[in-house]
Structures are given as structure tokens and as C-alpha cells.
Symmetry: C2
Subunit: 114 residues, 2 copies
């Protein structure tokens, strides 16, 4: 196997693809590409996600240093979530996935209208 093929299968790539592929992760990151959001704003922007799952995914994304949680000392205090530099740089990968999905994934009409 050439070195190109070896590097494709490296643990870094594995970890990235599994991180991005978790249910809702892509939706959360793409929503945050539009700017910082509060928890409830994310909940509204991502139809179908539950409180519990959003909390869980945000924590994973914080641990992976893709999302930063910031407490803003306003009155009342505001907690906002925003992308780190690493998170912002995920943009091109997620865009490519979206482009591919537009072109190749077929959804039955009932599911698309849900």
C-alpha cells in the first residue's frame, strides 16, 4: 500500500469521520456557521432534536474543541455556543457532504415533507 493510502486510513481520519457522522452533529455545526447561538435558539433551528440530545452533542463538540461555550456577563447572564477555529474549518467538508447529498440521496416524498 502506498503512503497516500496508509494516511487515509489513519486514526485521525477515523476519529474525524465518526465525530462528524454522529446524529445531529452536522446540523449543529452547520447552524453555528451562521454565528453564535443560545441553547434555545439551537433547539428551534434544528427541528426534531431533543433537549437531551442537544446537550449531549454540544458537550461532545466542546470536548472535541469544535464548539466553545461562553458565558456572557450581561444581565441576565447569557450562555452562548459558538464554533472554534477548528469548527469553522469544518465548513468545506460539510459543504461537500451537502453538495453530494443534494445530488445523490433520494428521499421518499413523505419523508421529505415531514
Amino acid at each position: 500500500m502506498d503512503s497516500h493510502a496508509r494516511s487515509e486510513l489513519c486514526p485521525r481520519y477515523h476519529r474525524a469521520v465518526e465525530l462528524i457522522g454522529r446524529r445531529w452533529t452536522g446540523a449543529i455545526v452547520r447552524t453555528l456557521m451562521h454565528g453564535p447561538h443560545r441553547f434555545n435558539e439551537l433547539l428551534t433551528a434544528i427541528p426534531g432534536i431533543s433537549d437531551r440530545l442537544l446537550t449531549e452533542r454540544l458537550r461532545e463538540l466542546e470536548n472535541a474543541d469544535i464548539v466553545r461555550r461562553e458565558v456572557r456577563a450581561e444581565s441576565p447572564v447569557r450562555v452562548i455556543y459558538e464554533l472554534t477555529t477548528s469548527g469553522i474549518e469544518l465548513g468545506p467538508a460539510l459543504d461537500e457532504i451537502a453538495r453530494w447529498a443534494e445530488r445523490w440521496i433520494e428521499i421518499p416524498p413523505e419523508a421529505a415533507n415531514q
Copy 2:
């Protein structure tokens, strides 16, 4: 929410990202980017994957029309796996993920040497 944001969260995108994100899927597709492979060649090219998981993932990828299984009428008969057009067009997305992973994912030295 603008239409751009809505389309990002569409069922197509969800399905694509979850498909790509399944364990080993990225490795299988990237290996097949180098050309058609037989089952045992894939097994060798992807260290750590088991027979059972490779079979399962190949079937999923066939169902998603990303991989095609072809029986070649040679003697002995050869079964090969190759990418469909849709599979080939996943290339840019997987490349972007690999680029991001190179840059941002840190692996402890012990894990990297496994």
C-alpha cells in the same frame, strides 16, 4: 431561518452524513478510490476491520448505491467491489474530512502507533 439554513438541515444531508460516518465506511470508500478490490484485498488494505463488519458495510454501501458488487466470469470466478459514480463523487467530501483531520485531530502517540 433563511432557505440556505433550512436546506442544510434537510433529510438528505442527515442521511448522507450518517452514512459516511459509520465506522469503516470512510476507509472502505477511500480504499476503493484506488480502483476495484476483491473482498480479501479490502480486508488486507483496512487493518483492524473484521470479516463480518466488512461484509455488513459493503452491503450497506451497495444498498446506498455507493458500491457495486460485480461477478466477473473468469476462471476461477472473481467477485470484485467497485465504486459507482455516486461513490466516486464522494471523493471531495472525504478529502476535505481527511484534510481537516490532519490539521485538527490529535491522537495520543500510543494510539497512533497501533
